[in-house]
Symmetry: C2
Subunit: 477 residues, 2 copies
């Protein structure tokens, strides 16, 4: 017989101490609500183990008692993967107390950290050793590396340094029955058997809980050159990217597309911002190159801009002449997210298309969206160097919540249907979780689903860990 909630709390407290268990609604708020505050889950209890052994003990306890588990990092994910189910039957396992930085090796350019370490803390610790951990995005001050790895997070610097997958050398994982899998190698090359590390990365916590990782570091960039360039079209931005890769010797560290509408959202959100250029343009590229050693980056970027203006790919632009000015340019990128948030409920996507088809995709999708809902506002921005767009939509403000939700759902399917024709991905970086599950299932063959279910059954035959994320929950318990 399953233990009562009181028994669960009692036994988990015996394993983890009183700091390790939260049950009162007053304490558990941020664990049970999604990032935007739109959806709430209903867990049994929140367990907060502080060591790998404690994670293993909690998992063993849940496994023995047939309790479902929902591991949770910084809870900044956007697809409800870490959000507990509404069914009052999941133990949230928060990794937040498992947050030690174990070692930094500046000769090997590696770093060993707990799964619950906050990304920003990792970046700063690396920097203190003149090293650089490149993963970067808006949530870096609260997201945890274990969650970044579980979801194979992307972000701003992927074009230069790769997604999270490419930044992880070793992993320690607690398996769904509480055994500990030790894959904590600090090696750049390792071809021994099937690569379980690669399978854990991006499996969204459904195959195991990441408790520790060895990360790849880079030399800390000594110079950075930042520019905001006005471009006439998405197609010009794509062409400029190719020119920039060649002209800047692949030293580009960011290349973001920003439409005029997003610039204006940024001005709304941050009153200290003003238009850095003399007049308005349809699209902008926020570009950054960085280097160590004797490279004259500014000259390199200036020369690129000159060539691009001659080729009519760039209409106007500003090169940051100081770190403060570069920061102000990046503030546009951050503030436009604030501006979006301030507009309330809207459609967020994170799609990918082959770079050479990106402009045509945007054109076709926008025509379809505008036809379906002329009063909605389209915001297309993102990591153009990766072919990864956030094709977002602000609904007409006059609609009520139910109508907004219905409209945005319809528009999402319109976007995804065009995307299918462009061989794109409905999730370039956020993952599937629960929120993208239906759209993903519709697009995934039964053959592939059967292989995934076979893998899930190999790791979690009792279907207890992070159930219902990616793959649907089994029908019968």
């Amino acid at each position: 017989m399953a233990p009562s909630t009181n028994e669960i709390v009692e036994q988990l407290t015996a394993l983890l101490g009183s700091k390790g268990v939260l049950q009162n609604a007053a304490d558990t708020g941020r664990y049970v609500e999604d990032w935007a505050g739109h959806r709430r889950g209903q867990p049994l209890v929140v367990a907060r183990p502080a060591t790998t052994e404690e994670v293993a003990a909690v998992v063993r306890f849940c496994h023995v008692n047939g309790l479902r588990m929902a591991p949770q990092g910084g809870h900044t994910g956007l697809v409800d993967g870490a959000l507990p189910a509404e069914t009052n039957d999941e133990v949230i396992i928060s990794l937040e107390r498992l947050n030690r930085i174990h070692a930094i090796d500046p000769v090997s350019f590696t770093m060993e950290v707990d799964g619950g370490c906050i990304l920003e803390d990792i970046k700063q610790a690396a920097q203190r050793e003149q090293c650089f951990f490149p993963l970067a995005f808006a949530a870096q001050g609260s997201c945890q590396i274990g969650g970044n790895i579980a979801t194979n997070a992307g972000g701003l610097n992927v074009l230069r340094y790769g997604v999270t997958r490419e930044l992880v050398l070793g992993l320690e994982v607690v398996l769904p029955d509480g055994r500990i899998w030790n894959g904590l190698k600090a090696l750049r090359k390792d071809n021994r058997g099937y690569n379980l590390k690669q399978l854990f990365i991006g499996s969204e916590g459904t195959l195991g809980i990441i408790t520790r990782a060895v990360l790849k570091l880079f030399p800390e960039p000594e110079h950075t050159s930042t520019a905001l360039l006005a471009v006439p079209s998405v197609e010009a931005a794509v062409q400029l990217y190719g020119m920039a890769r060649r002209g800047c010797s692949d030293l580009l560290s960011a290349f973001e597309l920003i439409p005029r509408a997003c610039l204006e959202l940024a001005f709304e959100a941050a009153s200290q911002l003003s238009d850095p250029l003399a007049c308005a343009y349809p699209y902008y590229v926020l570009m950054e190159a960085s280097a160590t050693g004797p490279v004259d980056l500014d000259t390199m970027v200036e020369q690129l801009v000159e060539n691009a203006m001659e080729a009519s790919l760039v209409l106007d632009g500003v090169l940051a002449s100081s770190a403060a000015q570069a920061e102000r340019l990046w503030l546009i990128r951050e503030s436009m997210l604030e501006g979006q948030r301030a507009r309330g409920h809207h459609l967020r996507t994170d799609i990918a298309v082959p770079l050479s088809r990106l402009a045509a995709f945007v054109e076709e999708t926008t025509a379809a969206v505008e036809q379906a809902s002329p009063e909605s506002s389209v915001l297309v921005y993102g990591h153009i160097g990766d072919g990864n767009l956030h094709y977002n939509i602000l609904p007409p403000p006059a609609l009520d919540d139910t109508a907004k939700t219905r409209l945005l759902h319809e528009l999402e399917e319109i976007i995804f249907t065009v995307l299918d024709r462009f061989d794109g991905s409905i999730s370039a970086e956020h993952g599937i979780g629960r929120l993208k599950q239906a759209a993903w299932l519709r697009r995934t063959s039964n053959d592939e689903l059967a292989l995934l279910a076979g893998i899930k059954a190999t790791f979690d035959p009792d279907q207890l860990l992070t159930v219902g994320r990616i793959l649907p929950a089994p029908d019968i318990r």
Copy 2:
């Protein structure tokens, strides 16, 4: 009842035409013998499908008839993965006729190719579009990309561009029952469900046969700077690498450790070579940096060498002043392999250790090997930037073949035992295949083997594809 060999030949000929089936010993020589000519397998027949559909048809035929299959690319692997078993019960499926280059997209920097394309052909096709496919190693003129992907090949440029895993965007795979898995996306970011692509990569053909791939390209380097630097020790080479990463803005494309003994083997093998430096040194680093756009690489490398000499990390060196001179320096690296081959049967390893422990590992291992066999010659060279060494041993020439084999086996275990203490890998790039299986099994937990067996059973429940590689063959058929 299993069909007779004659029936198999007849039915495969019906599927593939007469060019698609080889059976006579005169025709099948190179398919049944390993690269060095030491070991021979005994297959039923060699099938040579020319399209994905033909591969699927052969696999379906084998699956229906319970026939084991051994897929084979360029057959340049070093762990007997593609070598047919001696048991006269495997159908070799050679991919050599599946060799079309389908598309090169210089805007997206991607390329779609058949699994049987020869690596060198791919590199040249990319170059014709001013693009660069970085995978590079000695066998590139005959190895096939499908095999490179199946074994997650490494090589010379990994420190800059990553292993094969990081160069593959999409895959098409024929599953062990003949179904075709289509994962041919040309996307840089894609987080939809478990990443089967990553699982196929490096699984050595045991989960499916790679029939097509979308590869990641880079801008073609416009300038290259090559230097051979004499260093006093392995430790100095490791320190120099850290200095070079920072000093050359991560534009290093190769960083190879070469001991004096290997230089002399190169001089033996290539009479046109002479010592590029005035006197002999214990170790050398062959270093290459490359760039596109306005980067003054030569000055960058000169400055690095100056700083390194001041720090006593470099004793002497030569910077190639022309492409021809750079080629001559690289000829040393190639010829030393020839020189080793000419010495006959010897121990080849491809191990990895954390970079910061590499010098200590070499010291400790060499002491242990010299104590066990003072007359053997140790050759330690390799991709030091990746912590990946070829720790090879030439046995005393006077020994007979049986004694050599026994000695080399003993010495391998001595090396691996030290490696265990240094948290290394017994296979950094060659894989496990059949040759490394025993050593790998001894070092792998039953928990991990059970997970791998579960994955194998999910993809190949009938145990017919590439059986006995990585995991042992099942006891009962």
